[in-house]
């Protein structure tokens, strides 16, 4: 899309804003509308937009597949790890209340960590699906 200056300039302006909005939705998930899933989709969409306009190779340089695959697993591990941690501290699986000194702080900490895990996995899987599908060449 080298001959499309409007698309390129708009994308350059939009991508940081979309990323920022994604982070906002991520950290506000525990207190207001939003959360890890929505944030992950928004973050993923920013990279996909970048890839659509600047090409697949540029997108792969920005977020290599070698990082995305482990990240997709690490997100799930964070989620499950919070559950295991609450079991270690004497609660049931994913019983956030025991994670910090008092119940409310524990709930906040637990849900924030879990949403972070969800966000990481959703964002990386979105981008992986985009990169793998668009990267396919017809065998013939």
């Amino acid at each position: 899309m080298n001959d499309q200056p409007i698309a390129r300039i708009l994308t350059k302006a939009l991508v940081p804003l979309v990323l920022l909005f994604g982070l906002y939705v991520q950290v506000h998930g525990e207190a207001s509308a939003g959360g890890g899933f929505q944030a992950g989709v928004i973050l993923g969409a920013a990279v996909i937009l970048y890839g659509l306009v600047f090409g697949l190779d540029a997108a792969k340089r920005a977020v290599p597949l070698g990082v995305l695959y482990p990240a997709s697993g690490i997100g799930v591990l964070i989620y499950g790890g919070v559950g295991i941690a609450s079991q270690m501290l004497g609660g049931d699986y994913l019983d956030y209340g025991v994670l910090a000194g008092d119940f409310v702080a524990g709930q906040k900490l637990g849900i924030t960590l879990v949403e972070a895990g969800v966000g990481i996995t959703v964002a990386s899987v979105m981008i992986i699906v985009f990169l793998e599908f668009t990267g396919r060449r017809d065998p013939a």
Binding site: Y69, G73, I74, V76, L77, G80, D92, Y93, L94
Partner: protein
């Protein structure tokens, strides 16, 4: 920590799956998968001990009390299924290494084991949960991982098989979800026990009847009960051999478990067996399925496809046991789930060995392999005897229990039918034996016995079919208790 076992049973494989992706190394992922499956089996055994000693166990996820939170309830029926799943995985994963190295591209190994563990997680979750919506989530986890795993098969037709299963499997899961939605609309709860108590006065409402219909048809698609079986033969034939073995040993049985659990624990035995014409419907469907599937199996030219059709017939036999509608029939059906998991696991393991050493599983390739691969062939024959239901084998005990149940109700034709259709089973087992032992080998046929790491799990499964044929007291006790629990009579 022992009180946390109901959650850990599902969580440990769930976390091992992404860890495989993070490790990226196929060998490390395999080691992790093997360790996970053994840990899962150990947990299932401890849970079985706890349930046999102290009765059902309840566990509140996240500390949210039922009926608001998700509750896991473990009773005799759950542990029987948990033992089948984790036991199969614990035998199949050590066996898997050579077969996977042969059939899957090296860069996919870690993801393959991750998919395997996710299937296992989904099935274990389906077996452990006491919440009808959570059940749907685990159906989806196991199904989606299954579609991906089937598509990894080396034959290109694996892709269409996986897609076919994806479409039909999604229809099944969606029907189940619609049914759950209808029940939620009239009761406002998703907890199995709570649902059962709230639904009792509403059983005549049309919403509940339609909900029951959706749930039954949706789950029967997953069970692959004739005529909803179209996805299964291709999926089993073209999937990687290890995945076929695991699915054949567990997947359809866990789906049937879910159906029985929802039908009996939520709607109640009286509703299912007396209010609705369930017995007549199940006997008609299962009877047709056994005849059609066994006859089709006789004419197959490929061992994996033959065994896939045989699985359809055996699942129908389990349904037939349920359809007899008394405690003994139900116990026989549950016992047959256990014995068939062992038997079919061993048979598909043997098929996986032939796929590895002979490059394929068509009966033509198998000709004369009885002399060149004596151990694998002998294991296949012994497991085949168990499939037919020859005395001293596990399947004999379970089939006999179903026959006795039919006699208890005075249904001589049903009892006779089971015995006669065993001859159909014998017919297709004999076809395999004929190819293995009574046909000359091709001149250039490869002639190597399987590696030891594949032979010992195979023979362990074969030994299991004979051990539980001679001493079936533990599975029998679990099955009898579970049947009494489902029918709502004191064990």
């Amino acid at each position: 920590m022992i009180g946390q076992l109901p959650a850990l049973q599902v969580v440990v494989p769930l976390l091992a799956a992404p860890l495989c992706v993070v490790l990226r190394n196929g060998t490390l992922a395999w080691l992790l998968a093997v360790a996970t499956s053994w840990a899962a089996l150990a947990m299932a055994v401890v849970l079985t001990g706890q349930v046999l000693a102290g009765g059902p166990i309840a566990y509140a996820m996240g500390g949210w009390l039922p009926p608001w939170g998700i509750e896991y309830t473990i009773d005799s029926f759950n542990v029987l299924i948990l033992l089948i799943i984790s036991g199969s995985a614990a035998a199949i994963l050590p066996f898997a290494r050579h077969s996977v190295a042969d059939e899957i591209a090296p860069e996919q190994h870690a993801r393959f084991y991750s998919a395997f563990l996710l299937i296992m997680t989904g099935l274990l979750g389906m077996a452990a949960t006491g919440d009808v919506f959570n059940l749907f989530v685990f159906i989806e986890i196991s199904s989606i991982a299954t579609y991906a795993a089937i598509a990894l098969g080396r034959d290109r037709r694996a892709l269409t098989a996986a897609f076919n299963y994806l479409v039909l499997g999604t229809v099944g899961a969606t029907f189940y979800l619609i049914g759950v939605g209808l029940l939620y609309a009239v009761t406002g709860t998703l907890n199995t026990a709570d649902l059962a108590s709230r639904i009792a006065p509403l059983l005549e409402s049309r919403t509940v009847i339609v909900g029951f219909a959706f749930i039954s048809v949706g789950l029967m698609l997953k069970v692959a009960l004739f005529p909803l079986h179209q996805w299964l033969p291709n999926a089993y034939t073209y999937a990687p051999s290890v995945i076929t073995t695991f699915l054949a040993a567990t997947a359809t049985k866990v789906a049937l478990y879910s159906l029985l659990r929802v039908a009996f624990a939520v709607f109640g035995a009286g509703y299912v067996l007396e209010r609705l014409p369930t017995e007549a419907i199940l006997l008609a469907i299962a009877g047709t399925a056994i005849v059609v599937a066994s006859t089709t199996a006789i004419f197959q030219k490929d061992l994996k496809r033959l065994l896939a059709w045989s699985s359809l017939a055996q699942v129908a036999t389990i349904v037939l046991g349920v359809g007899i509608g008394n405690a003994q029939g139900l116990a026989g059906a549950l016992l047959h789930m256990f014995s068939h998991a062992l038997t079919k696991g061993a048979l598909f393991m043997a098929a996986a060995v032939f796929a590895l050493r002979l490059g394929g599983t068509s009966l033509e390739r198998l000709q004369g392999a009885g002399r060149r691969m004596p151990w694998t062939s002998a294991a296949l024959v012994l497991a085949g005897l168990s499939l037919v239901g020859v005395p001293l084998t596990a399947s004999f005990v379970s089939k006999w229990t179903i026959v006795l149940a039919a006699l208890e109700r005075g249904w001589w034709p049903v009892a006779g039918f089971i015995l006669v259709t065993s001859l159909l089973t014998l017919a297709y087992v004999v076809r395999v034996v004929e190819a293995l032992y009574f046909r000359p080998s091709a001149a250039d046929a490869p002639a190597r016995e399987a590696p030891l790491s594949m032979l010992w799990p195979l023979w362990l499964m074969v030994a299991g079919t004979f051990y539980f044929g001679l001493n079936s007291s533990i599975p029998m006790r679990l099955a009898t208790q579970a049947a009494a629990l489902l029918l709502g009579v004191a064990p």
